[in-house]
C-alpha cells in the first residue's frame, strides 16, 4: 500500500488487476436496452492507485455515463480501502443527489452512485457481477435522466398551460416550440415504455449472484416505483401538449375559415362599390 503523500492528496493502493472502465449508455439504449449486458467499455485501463480523499478538482468526463472500478480480490478488503472506494464513488454525486449506495452480497461489495460505481469481488465472480451491475445501474441511470428531464420541464409546462386551454394569434408564434416539446414528451414516453418491462423482470430461481445483484439494486433504488411516478408525470405533460396541439389545430381551422370569410366580405364590399359606380355611370 502506498504511503500517503500529503494531507490533501493521498494515494490508495488498489489490488493487482484492478481496472477502471468507462461506459456510455446511449449506444446500448438505442437498441432497446438489449445491448446493455453486452456493453463494452469505451475505454478500459488497469489502475494501481486511487486518490483516497475526494478531490474537487477532478472532473468527470462529460461524455461518459459511468466509470466502473473493478477490484478483483479474494482477501477481505481493509476499512481504509472500503472508505477510499466509497469516497471515490461519492465524488461524482451532486451534493443534492442521492449519496453512494452500498451492497454486500455473497462476499461481493458494490458501491454505486450516479456517475461512478465500484465492484469488489473474487476474480471468478467478477464477470457475472459486472454484467448484472452494469445492467441495473444502466436502467437506474436512464430513469434518473428521465426524472431530471421531467423535473426541469415543470416551469416550462406552467407557461404552456395557456395554449392548452385557449389558442390565439399570439400563441401561433410558439407553435414550433410547442410541437418540439410534444415530440420530446412522446420520445420520453417511448423511452419509458422500453424501460419499464426491464424493471419488472421476475426473480430468477434458483437465485444466482448476478440475478440477486440486479434484484437488490433495483429494489434499493426503487426503480419500479420511480418508473410509475415518472409515468404519471409524463401523463400530465402529454395531456397538456396534446390539448395544446388540439387547440392549435382547431384554431388554425377556424383561422383559415375566418380568413376566407373576411376576404369574401372585403370582395363583396368591393363588388358593391364597383357595381354602384358602374350603375351610376349608366352601365348595366
Amino acid at each position: 500500500m502506498n504511503i500517503p503523500m500529503t494531507n490533501d492528496r493521498k494515494l490508495l493502493e488498489l489490488p493487482p488487476g484492478t481496472t477502471l472502465s468507462e461506459y456510455c449508455w446511449n449506444a446500448a439504449f438505442v437498441s432497446g436496452g438489449k445491448g446493455l449486458a453486452r456493453l463494452s467499455p469505451q475505454r478500459e485501463a488497469a489502475i494501481q492507485c486511487l486518490p483516497a480523499v475526494a478531490l474537487a478538482d477532478e472532473p468527470l468526463v462529460p461524455t461518459v455515463d459511468l466509470q466502473l472500478l473493478v477490484l478483483p480480490t479474494d482477501d477481505e478488503p481493509t476499512a481504509e480501502l472500503l472508505s477510499g472506494i466509497q469516497a471515490w464513488t461519492e465524488q461524482s454525486s451532486d451534493p443534492l443527489e442521492r449519496r453512494c449506495g452500498l451492497l454486500q452480497l455473497q462476499g461481493c461489495r458494490i458501491f454505486w452512485g450516479p456517475g461512478r460505481a465500484a465492484l469488489i469481488a473474487a476474480p471468478r465472480r467478477l464477470d457475472s457481477a459486472r454484467v448484472a451491475l452494469l445492467e441495473a445501474i444502466g436502467y437506474e441511470s436512464r430513469l434518473r435522466a428521465l426524472e431530471n428531464w421531467l423535473e426541469s420541464g415543470w416551469e416550462q409546462l406552467q407557461s404552456d398551460l395557456e395554449p392548452a386551454f385557449e389558442f390565439s394569434e399570439r400563441q401561433l408564434r410558439r407553435r414550433t416550440d410547442l410541437r418540439q416539446r410534444y415530440q420530446d414528451v412522446l420520445g420520453k414516453r417511448a423511452e419509458l415504455a422500453q424501460l419499464t418491462p426491464r424493471l419488472h423482470f421476475p426473480p430468477i430461481y434458483p437465485p444466482t449472484l448476478a440475478s440477486q445483484i440486479g434484484e437488490r439494486v433495483r429494489e434499493r433504488t426503487r426503480l419500479v416505483e420511480r418508473a410509475e411516478f415518472a409515468s404519471q408525470q409524463l401523463e400530465v405533460y402529454e395531456r397538456v401538449y396534446e390539448q395544446a396541439g388540439q387547440r392549435r389545430n382547431e384554431f388554425l381551422l377556424q383561422r383559415s375559415s375566418n380568413q376566407l370569410e373576411w376576404i369574401i366580405i372585403l370582395l363583396l364590399l368591393a363588388q358593391i362599390v364597383l357595381v354602384e359606380m358602374l350603375g351610376g355611370q349608366g352601365v348595366n
Binding site: S168, E169, R170, R173, R255, S256, N258, Q259, W262, I263, L266, L267, L269, A270, V273, L274, E276, M277, G280
Partner: protein, 360 residues
C-alpha cells in the same frame, strides 16, 4: 425596446413635416418632396404598434387589457385630432380629417387587425389601393375641394364621405400605410431568429414598388387612356394617387428593411452617438412636436391676421418669403431639441405622457 431605424425615420419625417409646414403655411412654398412625411408617419404607426403589441404580449398582458389600452389610445388621438383642428386651424375645420384623426382611427382598426390573419390585411390593403381611384370618382372628389382645400358641407353624408374617401387623410387609401407597417413589424421585428428575418425580400419588394411608381409617373402618357386617367393620375398627395402610394410604400419598405439590417442589427453602430440621441429625442416626442410646431407657426399667423388684417387667415401662405420661413423651421427644430432634452431631464412629459397617463 427602441430601434434606431424607427427613430431615425420618424425624425426625418418630423424634420420634413416642420420644413414643409413652415414654408407652405408661411410662404406658400410647396416642396417636391412634401408628400413623404405623412406616409412614413402612418407606416411607422403600424410598425410601432406591432412592436408595442409584442412587448405587451411578452409582459403577459391579457387580450382584454391590450384591447382596452389600444382603444383608449385610438380614441385619445382621434379626439385630440378633432380638438387640434378646432384650436389650431379654425372651428369650421373640425371635420377636415387630418392626420391625427387618421392615426387614431388606424390604431382602433389595428386592434381588429391584430386578430385577423395577415392575409386579410394584405387583401384589405390591395383593395384599398385598387379601389380608391374608383371610390373617389364615385364620390366626386373634386366637388369636395375648392382652391385646393377640402371644403365639405356640414352634413352627415359629407362628413362620412370625407372621413372615408375625400378628406385630407381619408381612411381609403391611407389605412394602407398602417396596415403595411403592422405586417412589416410582424415579418421583420417579431421574428425571433435574426437569420430568418426577410429583410432582403422586403427591400426587394420596396424597390419593385418604387420602380412601379416611378415607371407609372414617367410612362403615364404611354398607358391606355382608361388607366392613365382613372388609375394612374400623376404624382399627387391630395388625393393620394396610385403612383404616390406605390412610391411612398416602396420607400418605407426599402428604408425600414435596409435600416433594420444595417443599423438595428449592426453592432458597429454606436448606440450612444449624438445623431442617435437627436433621433431618439425627436422620435419619442413626435406627437408633441407635431402639436407644438403647428401652434408655434399657425397661431401667430392667425393673431397677426386678426389684428393687422381683415380676417385671421389673411396672411396665410403670404406672411413672409421662403428665405425667412425656411430658417425659421430650422430654428424651431433647434430650439425644440433643447426643449425636449430639458423635458426629458426634468421628467416633464409632453403629449405622449398625457396619452400614456390617460390610456395605459
Amino acid at each position: 425596446m427602441r430601434y434606431p431605424t424607427i427613430d431615425i425615420l420618424r425624425t426625418l419625417a418630423i424634420f420634413l413635416m416642420v420644413l414643409v409646414h413652415f414654408s407652405e403655411n408661411l410662404s406658400g412654398l410647396v416642396w417636391q418632396f412634401a408628400g413623404f412625411g405623412a406616409p412614413h408617419f402612418a407606416l411607422l404607426t403600424g410598425l410601432s404598434y406591432r412592436i408595442w403589441l409584442s412587448s405587451q404580449e411578452r409582459k403577459g398582458r391579457s387580450e382584454d387589457e391590450i384591447s382596452k389600452v389600444t382603444t383608449r389610445r385610438g380614441l385619445f388621438l382621434f379626439g385630440l385630432g378633432l380638438a387640434f383642428n378646432v384650436l389650431v386651424w379654425m372651428p369650421e375645420d373640425v371635420f377636415n380629417w387630418d392626420v391625427l384623426t387618421l392615426i387614431g382611427t388606424a390604431i382602433l382598426l389595428l386592434n381588429w387587425a391584430r386578430r385577423v390573419p395577415p392575409l386579410v390585411l394584405v387583401v384589405a390593403g390591395l383593395l384599398m389601393f385598387g379601389l380608391s381611384p374608383a371610390l373617389r370618382a364615385l364620390a366626386d372628389y373634386p366637388a369636395y375641394w375648392s382652391e385646393d382645400f377640402f371644403d365639405p358641407d356640414m352634413t352627415l353624408s359629407d362628413l362620412g364621405i370625407g372621413f372615408l374617401v375625400v378628406g385630407y387623410f381619408p381612411l381609403i387609401p391611407w389605412l394602407t400605410y398602417p396596415f403595411v407597417g403592422f405586417l412589416l413589424g410582424g415579418l421583420l421585428y417579431d421574428q425571433p431568429e435574426i437569420q430568418l428575418r426577410p429583410w432582403k425580400q422586403i427591400a426587394l419588394l420596396g424597390a419593385v414598388l418604387i420602380s412601379l411608381g416611378l415607371s407609372a409617373i414617367f410612362f403615364r402618357s404611354y398607358l391606355p387612356e382608361a388607366i392613365g386617367n382613372g388609375f394612374f393620375t400623376g404624382w399627387t398627395m391630395f388625393p393620394p394617387s396610385s403612383e404616390y402610394l406605390l412610391t411612398t410604400i416602396g420607400t418605407g419598405l426599402l428604408t425600414i428593411s435596409l435600416g433594420h439590417r444595417w443599423i438595428d442589427l449592426n453592432p458597429a453602430v454606436p448606440k450612444d452617438s449624438w445623431w442617435l440621441t437627436v433621433a431618439t429625442t425627436f422620435s419619442r416626442h413626435s406627437l408633441t412636436i407635431y402639436l407644438l410646431h403647428h401652434v408655434v407657426h399657425i397661431w401667430p399667423l392667425w393673431i397677426y391676421g386678426a389684428y393687422a388684417g381683415s380676417e385671421p387667415t389673411e396672411f396665410w401662405r403670404v406672411a413672409m418669403p421662403a428665405t425667412i420661413s425656411v430658417p425659421l423651421a430650422g430654428l424651431f427644430l433647434l430650439l425644440s431639441y433643447f426643449l425636449l432634452r430639458w423635458m426629458d431631464r426634468t421628467g416633464r412629459g409632453g403629449a405622449e405622457k398625457w396619452m400614456r397617463w390617460l390610456c395605459d
